[in-house]
Amino acid sequence: MTSNDELANDSGPISTEADDGLATSISRRGFLRAGAAAAAAAGVTPALGSSPVQADQSHPFHGQHQRIVTSLPSHAGLFVSFDVIAPTRADMVELLRTLTDRIRILVTGGIPPFAGPAAPTSDNGILGPVIPHHQLSAAVGVGSSLFDSRYGFAAAKPAVLKLMASFPDDNLDPSQCQGDLSLVLYAAESDTVIHALRDITKYTRGMMQPRWRIDGFVSPPRPTGVPRNLLGFNDGIANPSVNSATAMNDLVWVQPGHPEPAWTAGGTYQVIRIIRMLVEFWDRVSLSEQELMIGRKRDSGAPLDGKLQSDIPNYAADPEGVIIPTTAHIRLANPRTPQTEPSRILRRASNYDRGIDVNGNLDQGLVFTCYQQDLERQFERVQTRLIGEPLVDYISPIGGGYFFVVPGVTSTSDYFGRSLVESTA
């Protein structure tokens, strides 16, 4: 199961450097500064395929890619799936423009426009009279259902976009699955993402309606290193380096050319999986058994054959799985072989905690998200390897969806999905 922890993106051999997953709070700031400096240096938008990642950092919102993909998740996350109810294609385009305008305003910040002396205020006021600058990040994705007959997009569907598959160990609730659009919001504080959600839904009320949502949070380092999930294990120790253009272009950003339609270049496939963790059951399992299921030490996050969180497990030296079982989550998720290298994903996890079940158990788990160039070659390959792993007794995927995060908005005249709209005009 990709859901928990570091697993799925346990860092492969090609990306041991600049692993953002290892960032502490201090190195996170360093990461941001480095990004900003790179942007300042970049100046122009390079051609896709050779671009330094995070090219245009000079504007908080505009850029070749939707920036949230390559940013570390902030503490507060909101994951919302919408269905589009716009009656016509023209209304659908208006929705895309409105979404863009609202998110641009929310990310950029400033004094909200005055709606007039005889009207409710244009802003909900949750963040005070001035929307703070650059405290929100957002990603907009489209689901395969948007490419039906309604809006004339059918011929332009991303090559491998489809409804989220149900895997053998899943317990999917249809009311918490799929959707026409996905919206992911991150901010340091919950009020910031809630402010944004209230704003976006207000201005799109007649064009789209929320289908399901889940709130997530990222824990602080305990005590250092990668945040822990609610199984108590560090989650997301290794990822392809977002600072490596090669890694991002090989694994995350869709590249121009067959079989993808041209408009998708610079976008990326998004998987959201709501994974319930059966935490009471888990807490009744011995630590050694937990560690064998995961493949890492709980206290340090080190692989069972290593000392440090950042150590690379040496599976070649342990072919029988004596130290790290061959069924351990990290080993199945990322076997670290040349053959499995192309299946690596960029993993972004948040925890969730939302009340209690009918039997009194706590409803807790993981909002697993990942980004990749090809759903089938990457997420589905990884997930298939995880079928039947010992961990499945303690987790239960209940919802989510597959989406395609459209290319970034590059200017004030651009909007989310413009290349899709123009390619189907």
Binding site: D83, I85, G110, I111, P113, F114, A115, G116, P117, A118, A119, P120, S175, K202, R205, G206, M207, M208, Q209, R211
Partner: protein, 401 residues
């Protein structure tokens, strides 16, 4: 209920001030906060006495401006930023207490403007005209206040419409009572729906009919014994009795009580006064209630007719909108056209859930897509209509001829 102040110009007396020498004045401090450039000019303040209002104030450049205003006098005052014709209001502060400093926000186009200060004793004092220069703006949202003489005849018309509707309602609850008293329960269920929709069409949101709404259409929520509470009466109580197959005597007693309340309301309504601001409040409140209570299934006591109620609520809203349309036609023609269109779309959408035999699709049976379309259509109208209560609000000092 909308919380807009209803006390704009109440006299505000502080004990010590009552015996002090009264110097009424308003200080207007103008700080220029330019949204586009974030530049701030040194604030200029102007003190005025009770004979003037912001005399000598330095006008800002055009654009969205936040103007701090201080009431240095001893009376409550409303401050408005007016166009040169003294009619269009670009920004306003209602009911400023003595000593208070508040912000007057406005999007100001180039042109000539003045400030108006309305004191609790209803006298309005104006500043001299000033000239605002700068770039054109496209998002100023001035409005013109509705007058008593404009709205009073509309309230009369509204009351006539409601009176006619109440007469129909009383006829139908009489018939319902007879059917139940004679044991014709199948026909009674149909008659119940007819009468309930009569009532839903009147748009009895909030306190339109005073306490009668709770007696005629109250929900069991909040009553100590819930559905078994003897204080629960009206249409929903009767729905519960009919669809839960309660004993005939219980059903008959509830139906008699309902019919009695309806006839009492017919008599009482003739004596009730309708506040002038009620019309515009109803334009959004009826459907706010529909979204909250019908589209959630919360009111459903077994008949599964929530969408029928919703459709009747839309008709009630259309009736209200028809009444207030003359107030919007001149100043807000685009808004009016949008409201009419969105309501008609909503009515059409709801109509598709009435089956050929006249019954309605239960809210609980809607698919997710159908729910989203309904929620979106009603929510969209509610967003569009949200300025109407403020646009048409009659200030208290203008609430009588």
């Amino acid at each position: 209920m909308r919380a807009k102040t209803q006390h704009s110009a109440q006299t505000f007396l502080i004990g010590a001030i009552a015996v002090a020498v009264v110097v009424t004045g308003v200080v207007v401090t103008i700080a220029l906060m330019d949204r586009a450039t974030s530049t701030t000019r040194v604030p200029t303040s102007v003190t005025v006495n009770d004979e003037s209002c912001g005399e000598g104030w330095l006008p800002p450049h055009s654009g969205q401006r936040e103007i701090p205003v201080t009431n240095a006098g001893n009376s409550v005052v409303d401050v408005t930023l007016l166009g040169s014709n003294n009619l269009l209001i670009y920004g306003e502060i209602e009911a400023m207490a003595p000593g208070a400093t508040r912000t007057l926000t406005a999007v100001i186009p180039p042109g000539r403007f003045r400030l108006g200060c309305t004191y609790s004793e209803n006298a309005t004092v104006y500043s001299p005209l000033v000239t605002v220069s700068g770039a054109a703006v496209h998002d100023a949202h001035p409005y013109q206040q509705v007058t008593y003489s404009q709205i009073a005849p509309l309230v009369t018309r509204y009351r006539a419409d409601v009176s006619a509707g109440l007469a129909v309602l009383a006829t139908d609850t009489d018939r319902l009572r007879v059917l139940i008293d004679t044991g014709q329960l199948v026909q009674a269920k149909q008659a119940w729906l007819v009468a309930h929709l009569d009532y839903a069409r009147l748009g009895a949101a909030y306190d339109t009919f005073g306490d009668f709404n709770d007696e005629i259409d109250g929900r069991p929520n909040g009553l100590p014994q819930g559905v078994d509470d003897p204080g629960w009466t009206g249409f929903l109580r009767l729905e519960y009795a009919l669809w839960q197959n309660q004993p005939a005597a219980t059903v008959a007693s509830v139906a008699d009580q309902l019919d009695t309340y309806v006839h009492q309301l017919v008599l009482a309504f003739a004596e009730q006064t309708t506040p002038l601001n009620d019309l515009s409040l109803r334009a959004h409140e009826i459907l706010e209630n529909t979204l909250q209570f019908e589209l959630t299934g919360e009111t459903d006591q077994g008949s599964h007719t929530g969408l029928a109620t919703a459709a009747a609520n839309v008709q009630g809203t259309e009736m209200i909108l028809g009444v207030i349309a003359p107030l919007l036609e001149k100043g807000e023609p685009t808004l009016l056209a949008k409201l009419k269109f969105e309501l008609s779309q909503l009515a059409q959408l709801l109509k598709t859930y009435q089956l050929p035999d006249g019954t309605w699709t239960p809210v609980q049976s809607l698919t997710q897509t159908q729910r989203e379309q309904l929620d979106g259509a009603i929510g969209n109208y509610l967003e569009t209509v949200s300025p109407v209560p403020d646009l048409l609000e009659i200030p208290p000092e203008a609430s009588s001829p």
